[in-house]
Amino acid sequence: MENKVIYTENLTKKFGDFTAVDHISFSVNKSEVFGFLGANGAGKTTAMRMLCGLSHPTSGKGTVAGFDIFKQSEDVKKNIGYMSQKFSLYEDLKVWENLRLFGGIYGMKTKEIAEKTDRILHELGFEKERGTLVKSLPLGWKQKLSFSVSIFHEPKIVFLDEPTGGVDPVTRRQFWELIYDATDRGITVFVTTHYMDEAEYCDRVSIMVDGKIEALDSPKNLKNQYRTQNMYDVFYQIARKATRVEI
């Protein structure tokens, strides 16, 4: 239990008659990269929103960073980072202003923010862009910065909702290096993606179909189980069972 930073049991979300997330039970270990896959409309985003405290579950149990997602959503929010599918930085703020804003929102001290800003800009090689407006950065840079912002306050877990949409393979590779750096520091990464090469980078992946988790294992085991060479075939075999129309 100590080691499980995310733990759910029969977590369910209904919208009227429609069951978006149907009794899912899984757990995520500390410092692991957990891939959360599923076709569009399978219920990934809804499940993730429940874990982030953005949406209230209908039934079931769930803890994130040791806090109950039903009763302690405030504590959950303090201990997680979130990078949304859409772009999560402010385009009309400068790079350092974005960092300061999110540091401030998470209650970091001014001095701490200043030190951390210097360090992160150095690590990313963005020192020259410190005073640049975010809107004039290339997309790949924005996404790297966006990730750095989401773990700026050193959360226990970071949720990434399709973080690498629309960027080239080289930048995606660099992005994943940032993710591994974060797990080395003990941050757990929960990531949704549509890129199967990225699924291979995960320690474990779950595949959701019609609101349920159909498969959950390491990419290697899944490939053995479904007797294929790559994750794409695994995903295709599982996801085509879906009966639900995309919403």
Partner: protein
């Protein structure tokens, strides 16, 4: 608290980095005041007058002098036949034609009755009725003078006085109107756009997944527009007092308090709009159509409420700006004590609290 402050700082950056918007926000009230004050003035000044005077006697000459002396009229033409009357209107320069009856002075002194005709261009009814109003004013003054000269000393003389706005200055009327419009537009429209923009950009999700309380997000959005509105309020009042010589006859404290209440109401309205729509464009359209139009048409800014059909009068009762404008007129121009605007204060307060509650409730349910 620190969390809240860094968020407010960000909101100010948004506003000040968007130079076009900030320019519009700060310049709009000034432009509106000046437009209404100088261009769209409903005041009558130096209207060109034509005369047809078959009598040409002492009395008509005296009346002509009176008209010429008035700042509202300038006599430009003496007609020789009544047929010319239509002609002068067709040229469009003359706003009023005065026709005296024959033997004007004789009739006046001997029978006590003399006829005079005031002809105006009815295609502009407001202008026309204002012109005849001024002209009758001049004529009745003359009548009074005659009565004083020739009749018994106990004659009761009726005196015409335009209460509150003796020169019928239109500035007195439009200043409260522009205040109502500018405040509602800036607070409601800009707040709703600012909140919806976060939804559209996807940053709202990130904010909501942070420990920042939703109520702080809303408050932080409101603070910059609240301060901008106060700045605009000051601009309008200063322009009104120093450029258009509209006095603040009542208590400035209550006027400002009333305006703050109205600003709060407008912010709640903006919040409500932001919970109803998902795009900035929709927010702008709703604010534009659902707020601008009723304010222009139903608040008494352009058309007096008393002269509307009854059904429209009822509808105008739900336009918050109507009550604000009425209260400002009373407080600022008539200079009444605050107890005479209790009704307006109460209505605005109830509307503001009601809107705020509805929109907060809406905001919360939308999150789930």
């Amino acid at each position: 608290m620190n969390e809240f402050l860094s968020f407010i700082k960000k909101e100010f950056y948004h506003i000040f980095r968007d130079q076009r918007t900030i320019l519009i926000l700060l310049v709009m009230p000034v432009v509106q005041i000046i437009l209404f004050g100088f261009a769209i003035t409903t005041e009558v000044k130096n209207t060109q007058v034509a005369l047809f005077d078959p009598s040409k006697d002492v009395a008509t000459q005296y009346i002509k002098d009176k008209f010429q002396a008035s700042e509202y009229f300038t006599i430009v033409e003496e007609l020789t036949t009544p047929n010319q009357i239509n002609e002068v209107f067709k040229y469009g320069k003359v706003g009023l034609v005065i026709v005296f009856s024959e033997d004007f002075a004789d009739n006046l002194l001997h029978t006590g009755e003399a006829a005079i005709q005031l002809i105006t261009d009815g295609t502009e009814p407001n202008q026309a009725s204002m012109l005849t109003g001024y002209a009758s004013g001049i004529l009745s003054l003359y009548q009074q003078e005659l009565m004083e000269q020739y009749h018994a000393p106990f004659q009761i003389v009726s005196e015409i006085r335009m209460l509150y706005n003796p020169q019928l200055k239109s500035a007195y009327n439009f200043v409260p109107g522009v205040m109502g419009m500018v405040l509602i537009l800036i607070c409601a429209m800009m707040t709703s756009i600012a909140i919806v923009r976060e939804k559209e950009m996807g940053t709202m999700e990130v904010l909501l997944s942070s420990p920042l309380k939703p109520i702080y997000i809303i408050l932080a959005k409101a603070v910059p527009y609240f301060s901008l509105s106060i700045f605009n309020l000051a601009t309008i009042l200063l322009l009104a007092v120093f450029v258009f010589n509209v006095p603040v006859a009542g208590n400035l404290f209550w006027l400002i308090l009333l305006s703050l209440l109205f600003i709060f109401l407008a912010l709640s309205l903006g919040l409500l709009i932001s919970t109803l729509v998902d795009s900035q464009l929709a927010a702008m359209l709703i604010s534009g159509m659902a707020l601008m139009m009723p304010i222009m048409l139903l608040s008494g800014l352009v058309f007096p409420i008393e002269s509307m059909p009854e059904i429209l009068q009822w509808i105008s009762a739900i336009v918050p700006a109507r009550w604000y404008i009425e209260a400002v007129k009373k407080l600022m121009i008539q200079g009444v004590e605050v107890r005479y605007v209790t009704k307006e204060f109460l209505i605005l307060a109830v509307m503001a609290v009601g809107l705020m509650l509805i929109s907060l409730k809406n905001f919360k349910t939308r999150l789930n």
